[in-house]
């Protein structure tokens, strides 16, 4: 097995959310999903709000919700720096859905520019969390 795994670390200001050997990772890069296998060339990629998925050496796939940041790959180590990162299994689906509805209501109100943009970001974050949570549970309903 040696040689086809690499270290994936997901770091936020509050904790190291993940640090383990993986076979494959897909991150939500700015211009679409970006997949990384071991021995990837050095890269820095900007990330947007979305879902990261990684494949463990035993083939299991897990999902995390990220709220933007960046990823750097050098020397067969992938480091994801994100403002928040939540494991799919940690996410409270009911809360995420409530947040989604709240954001949608705010968007419908169309108050001022700033709160509109804020609501938009909140909606994207809520959607990413719902998606990560449902994918992790195997019941993604699609949004």
């Amino acid at each position: 097995m040696a040689g086809n795994t690499f270290l994936l670390e997901v770091v936020t200001p509050e904790r190291i959310a993940l640090s383990e050997e993986v076979k494959f990772v897909v991150v939500p890069a700015m211009e679409g999903e970006l997949g990384i296998l071991s021995n990837h060339a050095p890269i820095v990629a900007g990330l947007k709000i979305g879902v990261l998925r990684y494949t463990q050496p035993n083939g299991e796939v897990h999902y995390m919700a990220l709220s933007g940041g960046l990823m750097e790959v050098i020397d067969n180590e992938a480091k994801v720096l994100a403002e928040t990162a939540e494991h799919g299994r940690e996410i409270d689906l009911l809360r995420a859905k409530a947040a989604k509805e709240r954001a949608e209501r705010r968007l419908a109100e169309r108050k001022d520019q700033i709160s509109y943009v804020r609501a938009q970001m909140a909606l994207l974050r809520a959607l990413a969390r719902i998606k990560a949570s449902e994918l992790e549970r195997g019941g993604y309903s699609g949004y």
Binding site: E14, I16, I43, V44, G68, E83
Partner: protein
Amino acid sequence: MAKGVRDYKRRIRSVNNTMQITKAMKMVAAAKLRRAQERAEASRPYTGKLQEVVARLVAMAVQAKHPLLERHDPIKKVTYVVITADRGLCGAFNANIIRKAIEAISQDERPVEAGIVAVGRKGRDFFRKRGYNMQGDFINLGDKLDYTQAREIGQFIAQLYEEGAADEVYLVYAHFVNAMRQVPTVQKVLPIETPEEITAEAEEFAKFAPDYIYEPNVEEILISVLPRYLMSLVYHAMLESKASEHGARMTAMGNATDNASELVQVLTLEMNKARQAAITAEIIEISSGAEALKKGGK
């Protein structure tokens, strides 16, 4: 006549009550200090890694431009982000930070105008009362800092800088050494510069890594990374200041408790003396009265 036993008793009870409060505050501060330290510890990998990435980006993409990297010339307005506590009862903690900020302002020999962004009520009240140029304030941040607060403050100062309301920005906060020692520190955050040793390392790296890929491109990445780097610096300073505050409060309350218990000892001794004196006086009265009766009876 000297104070009565009752007066001493009342006084001792009052000091004891105060001591209980200071003791409780000390324990609470100790618990909060531990949590604050853990948070500061937990933020280190993120800040450190971000610093490395920024240094590499700047070293390798020399031509890349971003408003937060650009030096302003001439420099006319310097902003100090002063991070103090919302509350007192922590010794000279707030005073030390404020003094450091004033010192930095007066030592700047360039013809500049100083502005203050106050984080924490104590700093805001001080600078506002003395008529400093207040550019913003953030208060009631609570004991449980989170990254969102740092993000707000970071966005605010980035905006000041981009609009030209600030030509340089410094953070003034207390660097946490241990519970007894907190060092007031001034740190330049804008324009963004990375520490020298990290820059040197990054330049070394840049020489050997010509095939670094940027996705989508350097400019976009700088736009996303630089504000985050600024926020992480603010977050770090806030966590340090918070840990320092709890450390200072713990020490101050520990001293207060010690002083109070010393006072109780002194007062107890005085009270016993007073009681003894009262008893002696009473015995003398009785015995002299008896003596007088004996003599009178003859």
